[in-house]
């Protein structure tokens, strides 16, 4: 049971890498938009529109990872955030700049303030995954001791493994984004954009693959324990899956099977996250296993219950979102639905509503003001809310005369 929340965290981290990582990558491609055959504007608009409906949901995976981590493994969380405060802060600033520039950009169809905002968006899209990658590198290479800021504030994230993971985070994001954007362009029938992103996907895939494999040499030197884990048992299996899925993706993209490439690219990246987990298991931080880091039983039960119940709501919602999104139901386009509304129904019963508002108001005031906290007071507050809703109904529905 002590490990189940860690599984949630890893699943969340994998989802964040695969989904939000691609959004970061899309930001990177807006910076390199001039290189393709499609116009710079067309490329940027394509990248931006493709993440429009989903980027908030993708981003929430990070919040999910944080909250499960601090609830289930509080001591480890406090140690990580205090020692790795600098890269986490850089990531935080990157997230603000990125979100703000995205929200701003969406409102500016043709304006002179556009370029700097787009560049800000692109730069923060590189900075944020890099900083988060260095955090993972710091944890994976065992540089975060237990305690309040007990580790080195700089070398805990400015070290070969961290920089490797940071670069890998940027590269895999770019790769995922290129694959997804090629698939979106294919669906929209935008041939030139599709060709551009196909080329980009192939190039970025090769880069990310080379970086990941070459990185093993760095890890061997810098973090032997991690290397040991990645080359044996479950870790090695995951690395193998990642390589196989990566190669498969290149082949699928080459042959223009973008739908399948989307899935295999995601698998290649998710397998890296899983490989890291296998390599570290059961160590969380130096001298702290997952079991030692775990909170008390009642907390773990509560977290697992919350996640299980939450998943019942979340999974169908996510499936709905991505089905609508991938089938183009959320694409910017002209109307496809007939907006003939229901026929107007005339005549409203205003008097009973006014009487209801009056009665609940008097009852609510009496109960709330005159009773001590308890069920009567709660009933009073409920009456006040009912009175407010009824009054709103009276005040907001009638056509206001001048």
């Amino acid at each position: 049971m002590t490990e189940l929340p860690a599984v949630f965290i890893l699943a969340g981290l994998a989802a964040y890498t695969v989904l939000a990582g691609a959004d970061f990558g899309a930001g990177l491609w807006t910076l390199l938009a001039g290189a393709g055959r499609a116009s710079r504007t067309a490329t940027r608009d394509h990248a931006r529109h493709a993440m429009g409906p989903v980027w908030e949901a993708n981003h929430v995976w990070l919040v999910f990872v944080l909250v499960v981590c601090w609830t289930a493994y509080p001591v480890a969380f406090g140690s990580i955030t205090s020692t790795l405060a600098v890269p986490l802060f850089i990531a935080a600033v990157g997230i603000i700049l990125r979100g703000a520039s995205y929200a701003l950009r969406g409102q500016l169809e043709e304006s002179s303030g556009r370029r700097p905002i787009e560049n800000l968006f692109a730069v923060s899209s590189i900075l944020t995954p890099f900083a988060l990658g260095t955090v993972v590198g710091g944890i994976a290479s065992g540089r975060v001791p237990v305690g309040n800021a007990a580790g080195d504030l700089l070398t805990s994230w400015l070290n070969p493994t961290s920089i490797l993971v940071g670069a890998l985070a940027v590269a895999t994001g770019a790769y995922l984004a290129a694959v997804y954007l090629a698939a979106d362009a294919h669906r929209l029938g935008a041939r030139i954009l599709e060709r551009d992103f196909r080329t980009r996907a192939l190039a970025a895939g090769l880069c990310a693959g080379a970086l990941a494999l070459g990185g093993l040499v760095v890890v061997r030197q810098d973090a032997p324990e991690l290397y040991h884990g990645l080359t044996r048992g479950g870790g090695a299996a995951m690395v193998a899956i990642s390589i196989a899925a990566g190669v498969a993706t290149l082949a699928l993209v080459w042959r223009d099977h973008f739908g399948a490439a989307r899935a295999s690219a995601a698998l290649a990246v998710a397998a890296i996250v899983a490989g890291w987990a296998f390599a570290q298991h059961p160590r969380f931080l130096p001298g702290l296993t997952i079991e030692q880091a775990a909170a008390s039983r009642s907390t773990l039960v509560a977290v697992i219950t919350a996640v299980a119940v939450g998943a019942v709501v979340l999974v169908p919602s996510l499936i709905l979102l991505f089905r609508l999104f991938l089938r183009g139901h959320l694409d910017p386009a002209s109307s496809t639905v007939d907006h003939a509304a229901a026929p107007a129904r005339a005549g409203r019963r205003r008097f009973p509503l006014a009487a209801f508002a009056g009665v609940t108001l008097v009852a609510g005031l009496g109960l709330t003001l005159l009773t001590d906290p308890g069920w009567f007071l709660a009933a009073g507050v409920a009456c006040l809310v009912a009175a407010a809703v009824a009054t709103f109904g009276l005040a907001a529905t009638a056509d206001p005369r001048q």
């Binding site: 999910f64 919350a306 507050v381 009175a387 407010a388 009054t391 005040a395 907001a396």
Partner: protein
């Protein structure tokens, strides 16, 4: 911290602690107004869409559509400022998280899920205007409204717990949770905080939404679209603002009962006494309120509904355990002062709207509404300052001091300066965005 080790070194820590607190306060102050929109705006957008579906009046569709774009932009900013807050909990208060997150963390886990639901359906709703059938589109908005309310409930449950902690035992200074559900949701402190914030959500959203339309009204834009927008926004704020006074009375009684030191700081009551007065304005000099206008017995009346009730003074606890009185006092008075003003504006509006079936005609009314939007935000922040600074010097009330929770990492000043710069840029950006937005011609939302 005992008196003995308060040397030069601990002064540095105190400065540093203050900066960490200010940094957290700044981030909260940026995020909380956005939470108000998360609570109230989806309901108002859905109300407009429901009116459209019922009456077929396309004006309401245009209104819902336009406000849904504002909702999305504000949600996007809220997502990032909310993420910053969760980062800061770890970055600034690692000891607090390490020792107590196993008790209250559940609230944030639940909030994470409602955040998810909100993010998913806001994407479907705002991007689905032209693609989904009207009924399905309306239904896709309902989870946004529910998740906005649930999310704020979960976060406030954590704040309620910090103010009235329970549900754990201490082992080596670390909490061991007994029942996190009961600790968060069986806590009576949650409910008045939540209801108070829920009403505040409607007040802030309603008045802020009305502000640009009131400005337009003063400049002659008085067509049916503008009048309807004003009526919906002002009605939302106006039904909440007068009742907030009653909810506030409930909150004050809870504070008087569970956190008497906070109540004493809100008034600047140095000594325990019966028939305690309230002083309006003035300055607390460490012993009494100077230059204030005293209203006899009012504090006893408000706190216990009895003019002769005994109220505990600040002297009941050591000076080290007292919050900064003048900050709490002025924040409280600001909130109450603005709250009363907003309630009066609301009553004028409701009277004219319900008795005369029209909007007020006086220019002064609309000038007041233009000011009421920003003022409602000031009151909101002042209210949170009252409860959070009033909680000091504790981060977990009566259990852990804020100074014990702060990070050991250096560099807080650099982080603070960076964050201030970024947030000033963000504020300018959002202001500019809303300004531009109000200039986009209406046709964009009317018939596409």
């Amino acid at each position: 911290m005992s008196g003995a080790d308060r040397g030069g070194g601990s002064d540095v820590i105190e400065d540093y602690l203050l900066e960490a607190r200010q940094m957290q306060a700044l981030s909260l102050a940026v995020h909380i107004p956005l939470v108000c929109f998360g609570i109230a705006l989806p309901a108002l957008v859905l109300f407009c869409e429901w009116r459209y579906l019922r009456t077929g009046d396309r004006l309401y569709r245009a209104l819902a559509r336009r406000w849904s774009k504002v909702m999305l932009a504000l949600f996007a900013v809220g997502v990032v400022t909310g993420t910053i807050l969760s980062f800061e909990l770890g970055l600034l208060w690692p000891e607090f998280m390490a020792r107590f997150a196993n008790v209250f963390g559940l609230g944030f886990t639940l909030e994470g899920f409602s955040f998810f639901v909100e993010a998913i359906f806001i994407g479907i709703y705002v991007y689905g205007w032209d693609r989904l059938s009207p009924r399905l589109h309306f239904l896709s908005g309902v989870p946004i409204a529910l998740a906005g309310v649930a999310g704020s409930l979960f976060v406030i449950s954590v704040n309620g717990w910090m103010n009235r902690p329970g549900g754990f035992t201490l082992r080596d200074g670390r909490a061991v949770a007994e029942d996190p559900w009961k600790a968060l949701f069986g806590n009576s402190y949650l409910w008045h905080e939540f209801v108070h914030m829920y009403f505040a959500g409607y007040i802030v959203t309603g008045f802020l939404l009305a502000t640009p339309y009131a400005w337009g009204y003063l400049r002659g834009r008085r067509d049916r679209y503008h009048r309807t927008a004003l009526a919906v926004a002002l009605s939302a704020a106006a039904v909440a603002a007068p009742l907030q006074v009653v909810i506030g009375d409930w909150a004050a009684r809870e504070v008087a009962h569970h956190q008497p030191v906070k109540l004493a700081a809100m008034e600047g009551l140095a000594q325990t006494r019966s028939g305690a007065p309230v002083h309006v304005l003035g300055w607390y000099d460490g012993h009494e309120v100077e230059y204030g206008i005293a209203i006899p017995k009012l504090l006893s009346l408000l706190a216990h509904h009895d003019p002769d009730a005994t109220i505990q003074g600040l002297d009941a606890v050591a000076v080290d355990d007292q919050p900064p009185v003048n900050v709490v006092r002025y924040a409280f008075q600001t909130m109450v002062g603005i709250g009363v003003l907003l309630a009066l504006i609301s009553l004028v509006y409701l009277y004219v709207r319900l008795r005369r079936h029209r909007l007020p005609r006086s220019s002064w009314f609309y000038r007041a509404v233009v000011v009421a939007g920003p003022l409602s935000v000031v009151a909101l922040i002042a209210g949170w300052i009252t409860t959070e600074v009033g909680r000091q010097p504790w981060i977990v009330y009566g259990v852990m001091r804020t100074s014990e929770a702060v990070t050991g990492a250096s560099g807080i000043p650099v982080g603070y300066a960076t964050l201030v710069t970024v947030y000033i840029g963000l504020a300018a950006g959002v202001g500019w965005l809303l300004h531009r937005f109000s200039r986009v011609p209406l046709e964009a939302d009317w018939d596409d």
